[in-house]
């Protein structure tokens, strides 16, 4: 289990790179890398040599999240102006502009089936669901307010939803909030299931294990990476090691390793069995806002790649083996 550095594109954006996602490969195109930045652009990259394919402008205020449809044809980006732009990957034609005012938008994720786009709704304490056929708002998964707590100013911001994750079967959705709690929903029944506690600081990233719908991995500003058994509502691993916030987390396609990016400028690879980091990459010189494993499949790809993006304006690629 290790990471090997492949290449870095310095100055990939004019300012901090805040988000990245892999656009899955299809018949027309191999997998591509999509990044979003504070410089108000979204860029598409060829992972082979990290050459720039296209720059999408037209976002106002920084781009906080990008997501790709499983088909690899459509992608979406969200920025601080609270618009979600859905566009055609190949042509950059705008397909839809989504807005659910007054809720702002943070992390975006398509469900594995590609039928729904989930958008973390910030202060609305909810996750908005948009269907991908007509781009209509089809659902709002709201976090119930805890009983007995006054609707004071504090609790209002406490359940601020930052991050969102789909279970591999697409039935479940989990979202992370500023106060550190994770809320789990049954999507089909549009029902809140339960909270998962363990963090008391913002959960900016969370992800289900691709091989086990029960396992959810979360990253938090408290510097910990937690692994939960969603069904059993238990915390079974809590790993510390980053010296600052953990900003992003992803699980390798084989489900054996966890990668994280942190404000401490490192990318780390964790072995959940050992409950410890096995490797720490120090090539970035500022906060690492996004890490993501390349989804399996696609022609000519034998190894698994990992991409990381950072405030240092660069993108890096690694080989995971």
């Amino acid at each position: 289990m290790k990471l090997a550095w492949l290449r870095t594109q310095d100055g990939a954006h004019g300012d901090s790179v805040w988000t990245t996602t892999w656009v899955p490969g299809n018949e027309e195109s191999p997998a591509l890398l999509l990044t979003g930045s504070l410089d108000e652009t979204v860029k598409l990259w060829n992972p082979e040599d990290l050459s720039l394919i296209r720059t999408n402008s037209g976002h106002c205020l920084g781009v906080v999240s990008v997501a790709a449809h499983p088909s690899g044809r459509i992608a979406a980006s969200a920025s601080i102006d609270s618009f979600v732009r859905v566009f055609d990957v190949q042509s950059n034609n705008t397909i839809a502009t989504l807005e659910a005012s007054p809720s702002e938008v943070w992390q975006l994720k398509f469900n594995p089936q590609g039928t729904v786009l989930a958008v973390a709704g910030g202060g609305s304490a909810s996750v908005k669901l948009w269907n991908t056929s007509e781009w209509k708002l089809v659902g709002t998964l709201s976090i119930p307010r805890p009983e007995g707590v006054k609707h004071s100013e504090k609790s209002g911001t406490k359940k601020f939803v930052l991050s969102v994750a789909w279970s591999p079967d697409g039935r479940q959705l989990a979202c992370g909030s500023m106060d550190g709690t994770i809320s789990v929903f049954d999507v089909a029944r549009s029902k809140f299931l339960h909270h998962l506690e363990g963090h008391c600081m913002p959960v900016r990233s969370l992800v289900y294990s691709p091989i086990d719908s029960r396992v959810l991995v979360s990253a938090s500003d408290d510097g910990h990476v937690n692994m939960y058994d969603v069904e059993g509502k238990t915390l079974f691993v809590s790993m510390s090691g980053h010296s600052s916030w953990v900003l992003s987390v992803d699980v390798s396609p084989d489900g054996a390793a966890i990668a994280t990016g942190s404000s401490d400028k490192t990318v780390r690879l964790w072995d959940p069995k050992m409950r410890a980091a096995v490797q720490s990459m120090t090539n970035h010189t500022d906060q690492v806002w996004g890490v993501m494993f390349r989804p399996p499949g696609g022609p000519g790809v034998r190894t698994v790649q990992l991409a990381s993006v950072s405030d240092d304006k660069s993108i890096s690629l690694y080989e995971y083996s």
């Binding site: 300012d15 805040w18 504070l38 106002c60 205020l61 920084g62 906080v64 601080i80 102006d81 609270s82 005012s101 007054p102 702002e104 910030g122 202060g123 609305s124 100013e153 209002g156 911001t157 601020f160 930052l162 500023m178 550190g180 909270h195 998962l196 506690e197 363990g198 963090h199 008391c200 600081m201 500003d221 408290d222 510097g223 910990h224 939960y228 058994d229 059993g232 509502k233 238990t234 915390l235 079974f236 691993v237 809590s238 790993m239 510390s240 090691g241 980053h242 010296s243 600052s244 916030w245 404000s263 401490d264 400028k265 069995k273 050992m274 409950r275 410890a276 500022d286 906060q287 405030d311």
Partner: protein, 1083 residues
């Protein structure tokens, strides 16, 4: 039966006096002697007999009577006997003088001298008198005169044995053993039957000359019952210093004792022996006897020493000290017998009399300058006297002279810990290496110290190794070990317990849970933790914590608590971990656990205070801080600092409306900071606080100087993290209008201390950019802050204001490009969006914004937007015009070109047909030109018309704007009071932020200090202290709560961001200017 016969005067009869039946009262005998006018030699014999029987008084009586003037008169002719009597008296007094140590000594010698002089007067050539004089001088220590006295005798008679012996004694005393030996030998040759003393002398000389075998032979030739010889032989045997020799020696001593139980030397040696065998009762008896039988100073010193040592070893320091003192008093020069000085120094050290102890140790060092134990002891004393320089000197000497003495290295290391960690570590490592070489067990403390020093020097791996070595084997091994490669078939109860999934809802409480260990015990694995292993275990915990292996650290702390639930510091560390993770509920619980053990524990109280501040419980927090301050009698700088900070916060927070109260609070804060500074002039946190108060009062230059010094000092140590100083300095630069420097400082601070994650510092930075009118930087900075703190809506508001401001200032510019105007429009759109979103969101949540205010912003921005659109149109039109103009110019040149070409053609034609069609062509040309001119005029006219139109429009609009501006100004006037207040608040708030740092930093230093303590000494108290330090770390964050508490207020104040006009009225003229500009901007 020996007896003497005293002839009866005038008859043939004699009185028979049996010498062993002499009457007790010498007067009886004297009467007879006087009455019968007995020959003087009889007097002498009888006196001598008394002396032999120990009846000194009678002896003296007879002799004094025998040397009285009447006798002199009566026996005037009997010279020799008279001399003999006088000499006997002289010898007697010489002896008294010799053994007497007190003042009478001199008197005795004077008496002796008088007797000898009297004897000399009778016959100044009598050799025995000279010998006596020599002995007297010898006893007085006047070797030269003694020698000349003996020489006078020897000049007369080379073989005069007593003189020979006397001279030998002189030479012996002079240390000329060879000469002495010769003299003894001569005496022996002259008189082979001479007393044992001669052979003893020979033996002594041989002994002194190092000829131990020959010395032994000499002693052996003596009577086997001769006590002195036995003792000497015994000493010789003892000096061989091996078991057999010692046994033989002691046997001889014992025999000597059996023959003559009053020989002090043998008594001393026996006592010495029994001291080592631990029979203290015998030691006391023997030494007491020895003291009773001898007046010889050095011997008595030995006896007292033995006695003292015996008490010393029994732990009776008072008595030991007294006897050591007695022993020392018997000694003239420490050189002769230094041991009692050492013992006395030890006892005095034990009893805390450092100065006397030091004096005695120094005496020992005079004799034995390289004695390791003494050097170490002196070093220790200097440490305790606070003279570390001197201590260092001595301990370094000790390690230099004794490079194999691990204790010296440990002592040296412990001394160096606080001053020179590197050198201390080297010393400890040397000690460890020595112990390893000797295959000795390495003390846990030593390893713990090595670990702690490595930790301090950021050599974390080495530190971990050292701590683990100190811990050795135990349940913690398995807990720390993350290796999973072991036999997976066999279930490991420890791992099982460790990896047991936790109920997610219970996981928030996990740092209080020690069930893990109960579970391990239930599984049959015993959980043992000896008390002595706690320091390294706790230190390892803090190390892991430092390395962010928080979970493991928490397990170690919980293990300590499982075994020792009273260990407050582990509670506090866990509370600190919980607090660092924002889990205040748990943190408070953990602190309460600690307070249950000791409700006066200042560290726990201070932490509780911080947590209460986080919960916005100001009154409670103050009470808690006060309790902590009381618990430490106001001696704890941190407690005082906390109170100081509290007052500072109170000054800038509560009492905005009451300038008096604000001043009181500030004054109080200043007083408290000063108090700390008086106690610890180098307390950076107090200095920082003082700097902040100064800045608050507007003394920027002084504050800057002070804070710069603090910053410099703080940069020197890796353990001091004071981002607050950076921020405070940046604030001052900002207040003084030095934006570039302020920006640099904020950025450095962010990078250096916060991994760029602190949205508050970003806000300060944005604010500076704003004042510096760097709109793009300001916007980016705010977006970054929003990204870091998404739920902080005030940041969005600020971003909106920035965009609005940017747009307004762009529109204000006289020259602007189309792109600029376009950007303005785009940013205005964003601003409108941000404001309207906030407005919409405020229906759902309370952000602390005034809805109306947002509406105003939205309205204003929309208005600006409209205006901008007009501007844009105008600009675009202008742009178009420009383009047209360019086109026209192009056309003109084109026309010129054409004309030129045409002319050329015409010229050609002209050449061809000039003569025939000259006139016609001229006319045509003129017409053409005319046409061209017409066209020209036409275009320029239309252009002029356009322009005036545009100008008119402009004018109209500005008029409109002016009107609006007036309206706005009115509004501003109304709200000015409000805004001013708000502005102030903002300012103060920023200062508050700094203060959080004050605390944080202080704690950290404290931390280090405690660490040191921990390293120096592993007493539990130190441990506690160490732990205390650590917890301070935890507390750090607590202070941050004011920011949380103030969020609402900040929201308020920041909402006034759009009117920075009134903000910094007090700060500098520059700001006022900018304020004016802003007012005009508003139009």
């Amino acid at each position: 039966m020996a007896c003497v016969y005293i002839p009866v005067q005038n008859s043939e009869e004699e009185v028979r006096v049996s010498l062993d039946q002499l009457p007790r009262d010498a007067t009886d005998i004297l009467d007879i002697l006087k009455a019968e006018q007995a020959p003087l030699d009889l007097w002498l014999i009888i006196a001598r007999e008394y002396f032999k029987q120990g009846k000194v008084e009678q002896f003296r009586q007879i002799l004094e009577e025998g040397s009285s003037p009447e006798i002199d008169e009566y026996y005037a002719d009997v010279r020799y006997e008279r001399i003999a009597i006088l000499n006997a008296l002289g010898a007697y007094y010489s002896h008294l003088g010799k053994i007497e140590t007190k003042r009478e000594k001199e008197d005795y010698f004077i008496k002796a001298t008088q007797y000898y002089n009297k004897a000399s007067r009778i016959d100044m050539h009598e050799s025995s008198t000279w010998v006596g004089k020599g002995q007297l001088l010898l006893a007085k220590g006047d070797l030269d005169q003694a020698s000349s006295a003996f020489k006078i005798v020897l000049d007369g008679d080379r073989e005069h044995v007593p003189a020979l012996l006397g001279q030998a004694c002189v030479q012996f005393s002079r240390g000329k053993y060879l000469e002495s030996l010769e003299l003894y030998k001569r005496a022996l040759q002259v008189n082979p039957q001479c007393p044992a003393a001669v052979r003893l002398g020979i033996g002594m000389c041989r002994y002194k000359l190092g000829q131990h075998e020959k010395a032994k032979q000499a002693f052996k030739r003596l009577d086997p019952e001769n006590v002195e010889a036995l003792v000497a032989l015994g000493i010789l045997d003892l000096q061989i210093n091996e078991a057999a020799g010692i046994r033989r020696g002691m046997e001889k001593m014992q025999r000597a004792f059996e023959f003559y139980p009053y020989c002090a030397t043998s008594l001393n040696y026996l006592a010495n022996h029994f001291f080592f065998t631990g029979q203290h009762f015998l030691v006391e008896q023997l030494t007491e006897t020895a003291l009773a039988v001898t007046n010889h100073g050095p011997t008595r010193a030995h006896s007292y020493y033995n006695l003292a040592r015996s008490y010393h070893s029994k732990g009776d320091f008072e008595k030991a000290g007294l006897y050591y003192m007695a022993s020392v008093k018997e000694i003239d020069k420490p050189k002769e017998f230094v041991l009692p000085y050492y013992g006395l120094a030890q006892v005095q050290l034990h009893l805390g009399d450092l100065r006397s102890s030091l004096a005695n140790y120094e005496k020992v060092l005079e004799v034995a300058p390289e004695n390791c134990e003494t050097l170490k002891a002196v070093g220790h004393i200097f440490v305790q006297l606070g003279q570390s320089e001197k201590a260092l000197e001595y301990l370094k000497k000790a390690t230099k002279f004794h490079p194999r003495d691990h204790e010296a290295f440990i002592d040296l290391g412990e001394l160096l810990i606080s001053t020179d960690a590197g050198a201390a570590l080297d010393a400890f490592k040397s000690a460890r290496a020595l112990l390893k070489k000797g295959h000795e067990e390495i003390p846990i403390d030593l390893l713990n110290n090595i670990g702690a020093l490595h930790f301090e020097r950021e050599e974390y791996e080495l530190a971990e190794e050292a701590f683990k070595e100190a811990l050795g084997d135990g349940v913690w091994r398995k807990l720390i070990d993350t290796d999973t490669k072991g036999n997976r078939q066999q279930p490991d109860p420890i791992k099982e317990a460790l990896y047991k999934p936790l109920d997610a809802s219970a996981s928030v409480e996990k740092y209080r849970d020690t069930q893990l260990f109960s579970q391990i015990e239930e599984a049959g694995v015993s959980v043992e933790l000896p008390w002595i292993k706690i320091p390294p275990l706790f230190n390892l915990g803090t190390l892991l914590e430092h390395l962010h292996r928080t979970e493991m650290a928490s397990i170690l702390y919980r293990l300590i608590l499982f075994k020792y639930p009273e260990y407050i510091d582990a509670h506090l560390r866990l509370a600190a971990i919980a607090k660092a993770q924002n889990n205040f509920h748990l943190s408070i619980q953990l602190v309460r656990d600690a307070l249950k053990i000791d409700d006066k524990c200042p560290n726990a109280l201070l932490m509780l205070g911080d947590l209460e501040l986080k919960n916005d419980d100001w009154v409670k927090a103050k009470e808690t801080f006060k309790a902590a301050n009381d618990a430490t009698n106001g001696k704890d700088s941190y407690a005082t600092l906390c109170l100081g900070n509290w007052n500072y916060f109170a000054a800038v927070r509560f009492d905005k409306r009451n300038a008096k109260l604000e001043a009181t609070h500030l004054e109080k804060a200043k007083e408290l900071y000063t108090k700390v500074l008086v106690q610890h002039s180098s307390n950076l946190y107090a200095a920082n606080g003082a700097g902040v108060v100064l800045a608050e009062k507007g003394h920027y230059d002084v504050a800057k100087e002070l804070l710069t010094q603090v910053q410099e000092a703080a940069s020197g140590s890796i353990f001091v993290q004071m981002p607050g100083v950076w921020i405070n300095l940046a604030h001052i630069h900002f207040a003084q209008g030095d934006f570039a420097l302020a920006i640099k400082m904020y950025q450095n601070c962010l990078r250096r201390f916060f991994y760029n994650t602190d949205s508050n510092v970003l806000l300060y930075l944005a604010r500076t950019h704003y004042e510096a009118e760097q709109w793009q930087d300001c916007k980016r900075t705010l977006l970054r802050a929003i990204h870091l703190a998404p739920s902080n809506y005030t940041l969005r508001f600020d971003a909106g204001v920035t965009l609005q401001k940017f747009s307004a200032s762009t529109l204000q510019k006289t020259k602007r490009t189309v792109d600029e105007v376009r950007a303005t429009v785009a940013e205005l759109t964003n601003a409108v969006r941000l404001f309207s979103q906030l407005s919409a969101a405020s229906n759902l949540h309370i952000h602390g914004f005034d809805e109306k205010k947002i509406e105003t912003h939205v309205g204003y921005c929309k208005h600006l937007l409209e205006a901008a659109k007009v501007h844009l149109e105008a600009a675009e039109r202008e742009d178009q015009l420009n383009k047209q103009r360019q086109e026209l110019a192009r056309q003109v040149t084109l026309a010129e070109e054409n004309r030129r070409k045409a002319e050329e053609q015409k010229k050609l034609q002209l050449e061809k047909r000039k003569q025939e069609e000259e006139l016609k062509q001229m006319q045509q040309q003129e017409e053409h030109l005319e046409r061209m001119k017409e066209q020209w005029k036409h275009t320029s006219a239309s252009k002029r018309k356009d322009r005036t139109h545009a100008e008119d429009e402009n004018g109209g609009r500005s008029e409109k704007r002016r009107r609006k501006g007036e309206k706005k100004r009115k509004r501003e006037k109304k709200s000015r009071y409000e805004t001013e207040e708000a502005g102030d608040m903002d300012d103060q708030e920023e200062m508050e932020m700094e203060d959080e740092y004050v605390n944080r930093n202080y704690k950290q230093t404290d931390n280090t200090m405690n660490d040191d303590g921990d390293e120096v000494d592993e007493n539990p108290q130190d441990l506690l202290a160490a732990a205390g330090l650590e917890d301070s770390d935890a507390e750090t964050d607590a202070v941050e709560n004011p920011s949380a508490a103030n969020r609402k207020r900040r929201a308020w104040s920041e909402s006034d961001d759009d009117e920075p006009t009134t903000r910094h009225t007090e700060s500098s003229p520059i700001r006022e200017n900018s304020a004016e500009m802003q007012v005009s901007d508003g139009d």
